[in-house]
Point group: C2
Chain length 400, copies 2
């Protein structure tokens, strides 16, 4: 199938593009390199030496014998270009990673809040609008986030997108309804994902668009079966306070002798998934599109839930690092339970990679191999959720 | 109190500005004249001869002896200008009408869809972000829409913003929760209002912003106690297929001998409010702000529900016009019941103006007085919700 991967140069987009190409799909990557531009802005480069797009594509051609297309286009600004691209390529599916994806960056400043809102909301809407405009029957697969649910679940397992509720009628009888799970976003980034979900519901209902929305957990790991095949194919690895996802940050910190810094009590429980499973889940979503007339498919794309302080302790024990608790820059519950349903992907045959599997070692190897590229000043999270909060940095500045 | 009225040149914004000024508030109007620009784009002018802003302000000064400020600013694009304005003026409240407000226009073309999304979402977010950025304790009053609820209420009355629901735990016990009423927008315009609601919830929770969101019914009428005081203060009156609200359109059609065109069966039941009550409700919202730490106030700003074909028949009888049923350009249920709670405004002492009151006559006078300004070619609604729909025009072209 011809598949366009929007944001195909990014942390999830690049390995997904390789995986889909490897499966035999005809992949066209669309990216405006906004993530690389933010690297420059933050002065925080990928730990791994990611190559320019042309080098990546050449390496893939040499390694796998397969070509991928590339178009430099800002999905959030170039509606006409997007329509023209869809008309020309007539893809069967579009995979949409083209959003600003870091919660801390989305809370960093007034400017980054505005950027995240405009980029993500106009981008997602442009895609929906462009699909309608072309009249093509394109399956849209969007990367959402587990964070749209909020984390005040009060002991009930999180369903997959839809929640059965009951209303009391005037005689006290119960009426059953199914609704989109009431969202409770915890950052501007997560807010945009909940706003996207409303746009999906509308375009699905009004125009019959076929849409899959994947509520993904926190991604860990860096390499996939394809990115390891040549060093020029290496995936990015973020360890900085804004873009570094928590488990990868912990591993990086441990590898360089920096304290494993836990925000708040570490009682926050979150959902996790390995990057290798991200690409596998996209494959499964692509192979199992909604039928015409079906509501938006919403799947939880996560392998397991873990409490952050337990993760920190696990890494501390494995790698001999010290754990340090720092003020939480985020405005969130100090402690929460989290039980998440993921039967939909499991019913498609998915067997998730768990933290207890051997892949933690691979990440340790990566962080040890490239540790000289690390700039420790980038590690603390300095994006504050509100003015009253303090930065999530160790009091002694880290290395000591 | 110093009050900034964003979109203060528009159909609701202008009479609200006059009303608040009349009450003694220090009013500053902000507008970028986007609505007048759309008049030009559509070739459909206000039936009433609205004057330039400078003339309006001069007339108000001469009539009421009160000055209002004016700033030409695009709230959706000029974040820095907005922050500077708030810092300079330090308003106690901001009333936010600065959104593209016509459902048909929002569905007119790919371009107007994109415009509505960008203008409304970036505009609303800029305001929230600017309030946080200045650190000022500003009460934000936003005009939402009854349309955010959707109209599949299955016999239950629509609550005011929040809905009590029950979840079943694993033993079948009921857990009570209160959620924002699950939205079901029927157009891109309504979609933006539901997306706004999520932004309000986030900024209220994360930053403690004090916000009132008013879910307003369909506005009818044109004049208020202030706009009638001088012809130069006259409010706009839209009768075209995109911006003309249904009751005003019916009255206009009847006045010029055009058939009263009902979309579909006319079984759609909708909520209505007179423009005089719009301004009264804003006054009440302004006087009753949320306390610090309170959730977003959501009030239903509507007087009564009416079925559209009943309205058409009422006007047909009063004015001797013929009713014609035309294909419905919208993608919506053909028939619906609608019972809406409006206890919150009523508890503040509001006594709504009803259609049975005498104000229909006043609208008839307006449409008769200015009927020579009407361009009948603007009357049919040619904005189609989907490609399969047909324009809502009489088959014989109207006048015959």
């Amino acid at each position: 199938m011809k598949v366009i991967v929007l944001g195909g140069d990014g942390f999830c987009g690049w390995p997904t593009s390789l995986h889909l190409s490897n499966l035999g799909h005809d992949v066209i990557i669309v990216d405006n390199f906004s993530r690389r531009a933010i690297d420059i802005e933050l002065g925080a480069d990928s730990l791994t030496p990611i190559r320019p797009m042309a080098t990546r594509l050449k390496a893939w051609k040499e390694t796998a014998g397969r070509s991928m297309g590339f178009v430099n286009l800002d999905v959030s600004r170039d509606f006409a270009g997007l329509v023209e691209l869809l008309r020309r390529e007539q893809p069967g599916a579009v995979v949409h990673f083209a959003e600003q994806r870091a919660a801390p960056y989305s809370m960093k400043s007034a400017r980054t809040k505005n950027y995240t809102i405009r980029n993500n909301l106009c981008g997602t809407h442009n895609i929906l609008n462009a699909i309608v405009e072309t009249g093509l029957d394109i399956h849209l697969i969007h990367l959402g986030s587990m964070g749209v649910y909020g984390y005040e679940t009060a002991g009930l397992p999180l369903p997959e997108g839809y929640q059965t509720i009951y209303l009391k009628d005037e005689e006290g009888g119960l009426l059953e309804r199914e609704i989109i799970y009431p969202p409770r976003p915890g950052s501007i980034y997560h807010l945009t994902k909940t706003q996207d979900a409303l746009a999906f519901q509308f375009y699905n209902g009004n125009d019959g668009l076929r849409i899959t929305d994947l509520h993904q957990g926190i991604v860990w790991g860096t390499q996939t079966d394809q990115t390891v095949r040549d060093e020029r194919l290496i995936n990015r690895f973020d360890y900085d306070g804004d873009y570094g996802t928590v488990l990868n940050r912990f591993l990086m910190q441990a590898a360089i002798g920096y304290p494993v810094t836990v925000h708040g009590t570490g009682g926050q429980t979150r959902a996790f998934i390995h990057i290798q499973d991200t690409v596998k889940c996209i494959e499964l979503a692509l192979e199992n599109p909604p039928a015409a007339g079906e509501p938006v498919h919403i799947l939880n794309q996560m392998a397991e839930s873990r409490r952050l302080r337990d993760l920190a302790e696990m890494i501390s024990e494995r790698m001999g690092a010290r754990v340090e608790f720092v003020p939480n820059p985020r405005n969130e519950a100090a402690e929460n339970e989290l039980v998440v349903k993921n039967e939909k992907f499991r019913s498609l045959g998915w067997k998730p990679i768990l933290l207890s599997d051997r892949l933690l070692e691979e990440v340790e190897e990566i962080v040890r191999k490239y540790r000289e590229r690390c700039d420790v000043s980038c590690i603390p999270c300095e994006s504050l959720w509100t003015r009253g909060h303090k930065p999530g940095a160790p009091e002694n500045g880290g290395l000591s």
